[in-house]
Amino acid sequence: MVIKKGKFTIDGLENVQINIGKVISSDEEKEEPEGPTPAPDIHELRDWDMRLLKRYEPVYSPICDLCCYCTYGKCDLTGNKEGACGINMEAHQAREAMLRTLTGASAHAGHGRHLLNHLIKRFGADYPIDVGPSNIKAPVTQTVLGIKPETIGDFVPVLDYVEEQITQLLATTHIGQEGSAIDFESKALHAGMVDHVGMEVSDIIQISCLDMPKSQADAPLVDMGMGLIDSTKPVLLCIGHNVAAVTYIMDYMEDHDLFDKIELAAICCTAHDMTRVNPKAKVVGSLSKQLKYIRSGIPDLIIVDEQCIRADMMQETSKLHIPVIATNDKVMYGLPDRSNDDIDDIINDLASGEQPGVLLFDYDKVGELAPKLVMKMAPIRKEKGFTALPSDDEFRKLASSCTRCGACVIGCPQGLEIDKAMEAAAGGDLTLFEELHDKCIGCGRCEFECPKNIPVLNVIEKASQKVIREEKGKLRTGRGQVGDPEIREEGVNLVLGTTPGVVAIIGCPNYPDGSRDVYEIAEEMLQRSYIVVTSGCSAMDIGMFKDDEGKTLYERYGGGFLKGNLLNTGSCVSNAHISATTIKVAAIFARRDITGNFEEIADYVMNRIGAVGLAWGGFTQKALSIGTGCNRLGIPVVLGPHGAKYRRAYPGKAYDKDKWNILDARDGSLHNVEPAPEHLLISAENKAELMPLLAKLCFRPGDNNLGRMIKLTHYIELNEKYLGVMPDDWHIYVRSEADLPLAKREELLKILEEEHGWKIDWDRKKILEGPARKVDVSFQPTNVPRLCKGAGE
């Protein structure tokens, strides 16, 4: 008898429903012991959190001194006062940061659940997981929950767990719950962790069911950029994150040979996922292109699903007669639900403008209707030439009507000097606007401030037509996970340090100084042989710039998990593969048991794996939760300056020696070590400050000499390059002369002697005295007492 999962009834017992759970094979069972914390509740990893938070003490930067959670308030908490419920500023800020982290986690989990319900309906719960050549198929899930899913249905209890935790955590933001900042931090870290579970589920199921690249280093390159969309064709634009509905459009277009006739393009993560499903689709760009592209009037039809979609969609599109089809109940815009109506009726109502948009939850209908409608709309729209952009004449008039009052500048979140650009443009000089265009995130706030009602964004876009036409890039489609074989190959380099580190450039386009930054950051780190991993909007912006030969970074660098490679994991939810990669290194390279064993793995990652996250333009709650999840796993994260508005960071205090004691797992002995990683969550003000910081945050106590030497080289070089001097703390990362870069060894030894008073044996070029600790190749750094030999005896 072959027993399979599913629901059964027994003859004669029709009213009894038998559910057969997972069928466990005996050898599988024995594979790996379950760790101490499968599916942990809020408090079960609290000890680990407290270890982190004792070292990386939270710093709060309120963006508001008030609390408005309940109607006892508003309460003024200025100066760490207490509100009417007794909460003080510190705890409230921690609560706020937790709530926003949780919001991010819920966005991913909610997306995952929607997709899971949909894919189970479409493919069945037994549909097998296939992520590529990996035995560890769901590393985050396995580490957090102790579950090893084999089919997509196995993820149902995984999301049950995530949703239970989200509910518990949201409950703690109610008045009169948690009163302690530090415990809110622990809860935020918990939220971040479950976020990575939710993301992993979301991405694995879509990779498996929708045949996306499966750990594919050479995933196809796709066209990207406003300059590459052929606006003479009908342009069907998809916006959002959840590819469920859109796949039906692609299938329909394939079946009906429409990819030549229709320009299928997308913005945000739906663009990633569409191109992962079918690289014939095109990518317009990151979130900041959204309003700009709508205003251009080019899209003839817009399909939205969920997340990072302009809330003013209907206001914007209806003016330009672009019909909108909303396909997800998270975003309904007050539109009528036409799911049960006839396709032709809907098309007529939309094409005539009778309805500016509709809800359509029947994806078969979406698949058929969208191509038909866009082909109907395009000639109508193109004939009328709908666009929000001013004509040349209007442009001049608008620029001249500006009084340089500066209201727009004060309204602009980037503080861009629109007034000056208007002045220049009025005089015929567009360069200021062209520069401003890349820094402008396309938010539209300026327009609400202008007393002259100048449509500022339209003016910017009009002025930048020349540069926009040149916006042509390439994106390597999301490759999904890093495969086990790649880990086996590269793990050693990473831990030895011949690969100096992994820099994960993730998140959104709220950059302080335009999108070129992320390109330059990636390029510099790639040239230095770091592995650069990317995803989401950053992955797109990185592909928008080219070298002198016209090549993007995706064309110049390989996509494998190898030093000096550039990996695009995919959409936001594929960020889970980044944390998963560190877990895999622990599992495969270091042979750690991962099942339900979060603390040990995080401890390993923090002390051994030189990976750092960068959310340079991160502004969403998702970027916060992704970062916070990385933090709980021991991965430091750097934020751009806007990130200070997340209200809380975890900087380290290098000068406080007590904070840098760790244990040697071999004997439980205490060692005072260098501050590595120095910070767990910190912001940087600009790219120049960021570069050496990234290098510094790749130091780990577990570095061997070779690795430390390489990391030190880059740290010193980047500091010199960007801050003009040797860093003033490089020496604290030196444990012996073997840590010193060969080429500079003598010079550095001299500095150590002269400036830091170290004792040097110049004959042997050896350090005799000075370093806080010696290197010991078999040192097993850990922050967790129970992991030490002899613990609990």
Partner: protein, 176 residues
């Protein structure tokens, strides 16, 4: 000198319109008052950010440093300051405010914490957030002598025209 016409207390609205933190917002002060205030600090720290590119501003930093006020260079300002021969210590601003919150921190010179921080040359929204930390969680006095009104400082100029800004800074250093 020109202080009669120069009123740095005007236009004291946040340079980012939405940056209204609550009932406690910086007092808009005259340049002389700011200067006197700084001169009275026992352990002042001048915090110079990346936006301090203007020559006039650099000269002010030089003067203040010359008067013995230690300079913390945040962001990437160190490069320029070093090129200008101004002694400064690089520190990440976010990290710096965490040090300032630590009563055990001994300062850059090991002689103890600071009682007054002076902000100059910063990315507006970034500095605002980190002033908020000092405002809400420390007793350290925060004075902004930047060009735009900073509600989270204890004292600040209003939003100034570029030329008035440099004049105001001159008035400030004249008091030291």
């Amino acid at each position: 000198m020109a202080s009669k016409e120069l009123d740095t207390t005007r236009n004291a609205v946040p340079f980012d319109k939405a940056n209204i933190p609550g009932p406690k917002m910086a007092k808009a002060v005259k340049a002389e008052v700011a200067g006197k205030f700084i001169s009275k600090a026992k352990r002042p720290l001048l915090i110079v950010g990346t936006a301090a590119g203007d020559d006039g501003v650099i000269e002010i930093v030089r003067t203040m440093a010359g008067k013995g006020i230690p300079v913390a260079a945040t962001g990437s300002s160190l490069k320029r300051l070093n090129e200008e021969g101004i002694d400064a210590t690089y520190v990440n601003l976010h990290a710096l405010v965490s040090y300032l919150q630590d009563s055990d921190w001994k300062g850059f010179d090991g002689k103890g914490g600071y009682d007054t921080t002076i902000f100059l040359g910063h990315t507006y929204y970034y500095a605002s957030q980190l002033m908020s930390t000092l405002k809400n969680f420390t007793k350290i006095k925060v004075i902004s002598i930047d060009r735009h009104y900073h509600p989270n400082a204890g004292q600040s100029f209003g939003n100034l025209k570029p030329e008035d800004f440099i004049r105001a800074l001159d008035v400030v250093v004249a008091q030291l």
